[in-house]
């Protein structure tokens, strides 16, 4: 019996890991290409949730979760062109300060626009409840999230591996100077990467709004976990982030099964152990510009 319970926690952890992935993957991409740790990433997640909840009231859930990430991705263009772009070659401390400041401004702006009280959001009727497969319990809504994450993941992977866009981006991560020497400007690619990254964060926010509290500080709560996932996975590695997100979800689930009080601490302990053994993270590549 014990083993079955454990297996259930592992499967549930994988599902949860998928959700972390939506936020962490964008954070990792933006860092890998631009060399900027986007501390405002959580703010876009929060905006995604708020816009989605607001739109759900008039347009319904289906339309809201599509429009909200697109709207946030468009905001991402402004963010990249007018703010982030100035800091790619600057002292990293400056970009950290700027994105941190932006995160605070966004949080306060949300408080002013939507008020400090949490928004109320519910799961659409058709996805309520759970289904039981074998002896495992799955929330129907989380299975929907899992399907969305899998689709997004496949899309991003194809984009990076099979398109000329992806080739330039991957080359830009390893050898930006060489890409420049070939006469390719990386900046439009960076704009696209930021759009993609913050759009994914917003998608995460939109899908998680019905099952978690929607309040102004929700972005600050998620950024730490996302950051841990990126560090564990290793910078610049697509599969590293995927692996790390799933691992974090599973380790947290198993820890809660045995020592509930240590659930949240477990992911930091995991990060600590991984960094001790592999300072570049699980699948982190040696990237010259960051060494």
């Amino acid at each position: 019996m014990q083993l079955e319970f454990l297996a259930e926690q592992v499967v549930n952890g994988l599902v949860l890991g998928g959700y972390y992935l939506l936020i962490a993957l964008g954070l990792s991409l933006i860092f890998s290409v631009g060399g900027v740790v986007n501390l405002a990433h959580g703010a876009f997640y929060a905006l995604g949730a708020y816009i989605s909840v607001t739109l759900t009231q008039s347009l319904g859930f289906g339309a809201a979760v599509v429009i909200s990430p697109i709207a946030v991705a468009l905001l991402g263009i402004l963010f990249e062109r007018f703010i982030l772009r100035r800091f790619y070659t600057a002292d990293p401390i400056l970009s950290l300060l700027v994105t941190f400041g932006l995160a605070m401004i966004t949080e306060q702006a949300i408080r002013m626009l939507w008020g400090p009280a949490p928004l109320s959001a519910a799961i659409p009727q058709s996805f309520r409840g759970s289904i039981i497969v074998g002896d495992f319990l799955f929330s129907r809504y989380r299975l929907l999230i899992l399907a969305v994450v899998a689709a997004v993941l496949l899309g991003v992977w194809l984009l990076l591996q099979k398109t000329s866009f992806g080739r330039v981006v991957r080359a830009g991560i390893q050898r930006p100077d060489m890409v420049a020497a070939l006469g390719i400007r990386l900046q439009p690619y960076m704009t696209a990467i930021v759009m993609l990254g913050v759009g994914m964060a917003a998608l995460g926010g939109a899908f998680f709004a019905p099952i978690t509290i929607v309040h102004p500080a929700m972005g600050a709560e998620i950024i730490t976990v996302a950051f841990v996932v990126v560090v564990i996975g290793g910078l610049g590695s697509f599969w590293g982030v995927v692996l790390a997100a799933l691992l974090v979800g599973v380790v947290r689930g198993i820890t809660i099964h045995f020592v509930p009080a240590a659930g949240e601490a477990s992911i930091y302990i995991l990060m600590f152990l991984v960094l001790l053994v592999r300072p570049r993270g699980l699948l982190g590549e040696r990237i010259e510009k960051f060494e």
Partner: protein
């Protein structure tokens, strides 16, 4: 490109992420010959939602008092800040006394922060009206002469809901699975709950501690399903409650859920159709008392939303403090303490008046169990709760639901 190493970057980001937990300062200052009151409440973190309501409540009271001429002809100046965490709360309280010249301290929701402010009050021999923290220990073994407690303590909330459960045949021989917030308040609530179960034949099938920053409850829900309890019981706080309720509804577990702590803002945030069960409250905006209705009307007009229980409690707390200052014609702690200790009756916008019990400085007042209205009876998102009759009953003493001297080891 010139760059710092990856390592530097990681260190710096970690430092900044850490700094983000310090929160925003929210400083409201005034000067002159005003009576200053130091007010601390969490505006960020898992109790931040409640704290923002608290701040609106005390501001409304301040404006009303100042508009009607202030206290002893002097204007009131409430210096209100984010208490952030227990250590920062104590530092800010000390600074308010040393540098900002406040006469008394008020506020708090977080029991751990309230405890550190109580220590500051005692060290400085200055009055502290502890408004919104509910841990029994604060008025029990940690009580001190300088602190007065307004909100209902854990045991009273347990009694309010527990009595309703006994009445509904949901206590004797039932297996409870409890989730407990992992800090002083949750531990306290769990202890009170266990005492009630023991006394009334309830059984505990499982009890898990939940860190205050948990947002995903799915692993806990799976454990609950494995344990197959009769009733799930929440001893959680703040955002935890909202997240649990949302995800409990998401997973659709068949066991009824009850809880010994819920603030109405947490219930509103849970969304329609998600909340069920029986919960306790200290006040609700539909309370049928003229004073309460007037307060709700003024608050709603000013802020565009109905007040939450923390807004109400801050409002009546400042009114009580001002009444004490006006009656004693003093802002001195030595004059104010005896005034409260005489068990002076205060209008707290409820059916019955309240008073601070002299031996543990706890406000004696009514409490209410509430249940959730069926979906078709809910008129607006704020109208989801159906308030039960006040406990204790009108012919009983207010002290019947309070902690007894044996339960509350307070020695001042």
């Amino acid at each position: 490109m010139t760059r710092y190493s990856r390592r530097t970057l990681l260190q710096a980001s970690a430092a900044l992420a850490g700094a983000s937990s310090l929160g925003f300062p929210s400083i409201v200052r005034g000067q002159g010959d005003k009576i200053r009151i130091g007010h601390l409440t969490p505006l960020t973190g898992f109790l931040g939602t409640l704290g923002t309501y608290a701040q609106l409540g005390i501001r409304l009271a301040q404006e009303e008092i100042n508009a009607s001429g202030g206290v002893m002809g002097r204007q009131l100046d409430v210096l209100s800040e984010d208490s952030v965490n227990p250590a920062t709360a104590a530092t800010k309280a000390q600074r308010m006394l040393d540098q900002d010249g406040v006469s008394v301290l008020m506020g708090e929701i977080n029991s751990a922060s309230a405890l550190t402010i109580m220590q500051v009050a005692e060290r400085n021999k200055r009055l502290y009206m502890q408004i919104g923290a509910r841990s029994d220990a604060l008025r029990g073994k940690n009580c001190n002469r300088y602190t007065f407690h307004v909100d209902i303590p854990s045991t009273v909330m347990v009694n309010a809901v527990g009595r309703a459960l006994v009445r509904d045949n949901m206590m004797k021989d039932k297996k409870f699975y409890t989730l407990t917030a992992d800090y002083i308040f949750g531990h306290d609530l769990a202890r009170a709950a266990r005492a009630f179960f023991d006394a009334n034949g309830g059984k505990v099938a499982g009890d898990e501690l939940v860190a205050t920053d948990v947002t995903d409850f799915s692993p806990y829900l799976l454990k609950i399903r494995q344990a197959k309890p009769d009733v799930v019981c929440s001893n959680l706080a703040g955002n935890q409650v909202t997240n649990l309720i949302k995800q409990y509804a998401e997973f659709g577990l068949p066991y009824p859920i009850v809880g010994f702590n819920l603030n109405t803002a947490d219930a509103w945030a849970a969304g329609q159709g998600n909340l069920s069960g029986t919960w306790p409250t200290v006040w609700y905006h539909t309370l049928d008392v003229p004073g309460s209705k007037a307060f709700v009307a003024t608050f709603t007009k000013k802020y565009g939303k109905v007040p939450e229980n923390h807004a109400w409690i801050e409002y009546i707390s400042l009114k009580m403090m001002v009444q004490a200052m006006a009656e004693t014609k003093s802002t001195e702690t030595d004059k104010l303490i005896p005034y409260f200790e005489q068990q002076t009756q205060f209008d707290i916008l409820k059916g019955r008046k309240g008073y601070f019990r002299n031996w543990d400085h706890q406000l004696m007042q009514e409490a209410y169990p509430f249940t959730v209205k069926p979906a078709d009876q809910i008129k607006d998102p704020y109208d989801m709760l159906s308030l039960g009759a006040a406990i204790p009953e009108p012919n009983e003493s207010l002290e019947t639901i309070a902690l007894t001297k044996e339960q509350n080891p307070c020695a001042m």
